[in-house]
């Protein structure tokens, strides 16, 4: 094993009493203080600061426009351009979900439904947002492109029960998603 000997830097008297460094720090702080008072601090524009410093004034100001493309917010269910709910309740997301946040009760599509040929869809679909860790595994595992992590990050509630997103809520947040693979087409 190679041994590397490090030499401690030799400090002169000024450095040893570290007073010079304190003064340097003081001036740095003051420069930023003055800049922020003049509304010129770094990141002021990109983070939509209130003008005083970089602090975003939440909730009057929101992150929403500043989220990157890959941002992972609340998992939701989507419908497609034909208005079909895409989930067929295969329960793979329930299986893969690391904190076991998803609970699905599968059900059969009645034979008089226009989508009867798909045969299966969820009767109930609950995601417990207290448990969800926003990992995105559900989106990745879904064979039907039915569950997507949206940019919603404001998930609040007054009770635990409020924090469980049921099927209606999931479709409401998820909305319509176009351009997905149309697996259940007329050939199927």
């Amino acid at each position: 094993m190679a041994v590397i000997k490090l030499q401690r830097p030799k400090l002169n008297f000024g450095e040893k009493i570290y007073f010079g460094a304190l003064i340097k720090g003081f001036f740095l702080t003051m420069t930023h203080a003055v800049k922020s008072l003049r509304g010129k601090s770094a990141g002021a524009d990109s983070l939509a600061s209130s003008g005083l410093g970089v602090t975003m004034q939440f909730p009057e100001q929101r992150w929403d426009e500043h989220l990157p493309e890959y941002y992972r917010g609340a998992p939701t269910l989507v419908t497609d351009e034909q208005g079909r709910e895409r989930c067929v309740s295969c329960q793979l997301c329930e299986f893969i979900c690391p904190p076991k946040a998803i609970k699905i009760t599968p059900g059969e599509i009645p034979s008089d439904d226009p989508w009867a040929k798909v045969e299966k869809r969820p009767k109930e679909f609950d995601i417990d947002m207290i448990r969800c860790i926003y990992c995105g595994m559900c989106e990745e595992v879904c064979p039907e492109q039915a569950i997507f992590l949206r940019k919603d990050y404001l998930i609040t509630g007054l009770k635990r029960a409020d924090m469980v997103h049921d099927k209606d809520k999931l479709y409401q947040i998820g909305g319509v998603r176009t351009g997905l693979v149309n697996k259940w087409n007329e050939l199927k």
């Binding site: 067929v88 599968p106 798909v118």
Partner: protein, 590 residues
């Protein structure tokens, strides 16, 4: 080779050694094994620990060899020229000449000095080819297919499939979601035409209603035009089907199989004691399937027994002990805690003379429960103890006429030839007022034992333990919630004398308790004994093993998942007789 040497050598040749035992030598993947004559190649491979992928082969059915998944490479020793001695190596085996074309392992039997290769380029290419053909028209329904997770097509695709389809034409369309019987749904697009279901209905169930129509890629499985797949054994076809073409209506879209926990236990709907697997997620049972036991039910079970589990989590389940707090009809009950229930009931019992007390137990109870019932009767000093007989028509396969699962066990434990003998006299006693107190365990007297509500309403004391709310309970003073068959551990003896074990698959609901614990605590309350000697069901079994000769030397864990023969009876399960005859005739292998 001189004559003398070959004469002595021949006595020790492997082929002669094997032949003396009725066996033949086969080399599987380079290792020599011995198997009984007449074994199929695929069985030999399985016994040697090599799995050969297959679809149409089933050990209990004939082998038509129509899926071609089990192709392997075979070799035989070259035939010597006339007058020439066969060559042998140092170990006495002849060299194997490998045949370049593959053979199916499921329909060919082994022969002396045969070689089998279950891997290698030829075999691998065959499997890949067969898989590609099978998937040409397959609908890829896995996300909505109930078979997903236990589908042979999925499993073999992982190992031998290509992952990408080269097929550019339109897939052949076939009927989907077809109603072919009251309990079975057919999806023809998923069918891989293995014919297992057809052969089962023909050879085992004796009701040949399924068959193929059309030809080539258009071959379609159908039910006979004037018939339905409505045999009481139809659900076995869903187990048999290697893919999701036949699925159970009852289990349809209930739960994915990978969430289910399997518990090996036994069926309690008749005296045959069919071995089953209970599939549960959390505390809910989702399905029951037969478990192979060649001494009891082979691989099959009747639908009527298989589907009889929904009562376990029904609304009629009793979940807390109840005491009657007033009224006769309608009776008013209020819940009370367990210790108080047993104390007040025992106190009341002791005010009644022993000759006025009777116990009616059930032949649906386990050996352990019956043994404790006997102790309870002894503690009370009463000799009136009877079970309720339950007879109906037998079928020609598995369903026995005796619908009690543990009649033989009851005979052994209670040491009587007729455990139902005193039921009539107890009924008379209740009517005439000679019997004032009745303890009813796991039976509904009004529905099943010919009692009238008026008879029971006269009693001073009626205690019933049961799993479901029932008419008898309305006349009772105490109603105790007990355990269903899938919620308890214990043992039963089937009609052919096999001791088999029940295992707990799900937990008890609410405050319901295991029957044996109720009986133990009631007996303790009656005798005012404070020393609980039996803490575990194993302790009860130990007492049985000491007291009853047939159980000597056994423990619950020694029974094993396939049971232990403890008594000889002349009862023959008809299904097994059929199967053994077909095996003796060489039609099947398993």
């Amino acid at each position: 080779m001189s004559d003398t040497i070959s004469a002595t050598a021949e006595l020790n040749l492997p082929k002669d050694l094997a032949a003396a035992k009725g066996m033949v030598n086969v080399e599987i993947d380079g290792i020599w094994h011995q198997f009984p004559k007449g074994t199929r190649m695929i069985e030999a491979c399985r016994q040697a620990g090599t799995f050969v992928p297959h679809y149409c082969y089933h050990p209990k059915l004939s082998s038509p060899g129509n899926c071609r998944m089990c192709l392997v490479q075979m070799g035989m020793p070259p035939r010597p020229a006339p007058g020439q001695e066969p060559q042998r190596d140092d170990t006495g085996y002849e060299p194997i000449g490998w045949i370049p074309r593959p053979v199916i392992a499921c329909a060919n039997t082994i022969s002396e000095n045969m070689g089998i290769r279950t891997s290698g380029e030829v075999v691998e290419k065959c499997r890949e080819g067969v898989m590609e053909f099978l998937l040409i028209n397959h609908p890829l329904d896995c996300p909505i297919c109930d078979q997903a997770g236990e589908c042979l097509l999925q499993e073999n695709s992982v190992e031998h499939g290509r992952g990408v389809s080269r097929f550019v034409d339109m897939k052949v369309k076939k009927p989907k979601n077809v109603d072919i019987g009251p309990r079975i749904r057919l999806d023809d697009e998923r069918c891989i035409l293995c014919s297992r279901c057809i052969r089962f209905m023909d050879e085992v169930a004796g009701d040949p209603v399924l068959g193929f129509t059309q030809r080539g890629t258009h071959t379609t499985l159908t039910v006979h035009p004037d018939r339905l797949l409505d045999s009481n054994y139809s659900l076995n076809t869903a187990d048999l089907c290697p893919v999701g073409a036949l699925t159970s209506n009852d289990f349809r879209f209930q739960m994915r199989v990978w969430f289910l926990k399997e518990t090996p236990t036994i069926d309690v709907n008749c005296g045959s004691g069919t071995n089953i697997t209970v599939w549960a997620r959390g505390n809910k049972i989702h399905r029951i399937t037969p478990r192979r036991n060649d001494e009891v039910n082979s691989c099959w079970m009747p639908d009527s027994h298989r589907l009889n589990f929904h009562y376990i989590d029904s609304d009629a389940r009793l979940t807390e002990p109840l005491a009657r707090s007033g009224g006769v009809s309608p009776a008013v009950f209020s819940p009370i805690p367990w210790p108080e229930t047993l104390k007040t009931a025992a106190a009341k019992l002791k005010t009644i003379a022993p000759e006025n007390i009777a116990i009616i137990a059930s032949a649906r109870m386990t050996n352990e429960e019956l043994f404790l019932t006997r102790s309870l009767a002894a503690a009370l000093g009463t000799g009136s103890l009877s079970l309720v007989p339950r007879f109906a028509e037998a079928d020609a396969l598995l369903v026995a006429a005796d619908r009690n699962p543990n009649t033989l066990g009851a005979k052994l434990i209670l040491e009587t030839e007729d455990p139902f003998a005193t039921l009539d006299s107890i009924r008379e006693g209740v009517r005439s007022g000679a019997i004032k107190a009745l303890i009813v365990l796991g039976e509904d007297l009004i529905t099943d034992a010919g009692f009238l509500f008026a008879d029971l309403a006269n009693l001073d004391f009626l205690l019933q333990s049961h799993i479901l709310a029932n008419p008898t309970a309305l006349a009772a003073h105490w109603v105790l919630p007990a355990a269903a068959f899938a919620e308890k551990r214990g043992s039963m003896v089937n009609l052919s004398g096999r001791l088999q074990r029940l295992n707990r698959a799900v937990e008890l609901p609410g405050q319901a308790r295991d029957d044996w614990e109720i009986l133990r605590d009631l007996t303790l309350a009656v005798t005012e004994e404070t020393n609980v000697a039996r803490h575990h069901i194993e302790d009860v079994f130990k007492s049985i093993a000491e007291a009853i000769p047939a159980f000597t030397g056994l423990t619950l864990s020694k029974i094993g998942h396939h049971g232990t023969q403890i008594a000889a009876t002349d009862y023959q399960i008809p299904l097994l007789a059929n199967e053994r005859a077909r095996k003796a005739a060489g039609l099947i292998n398993g």
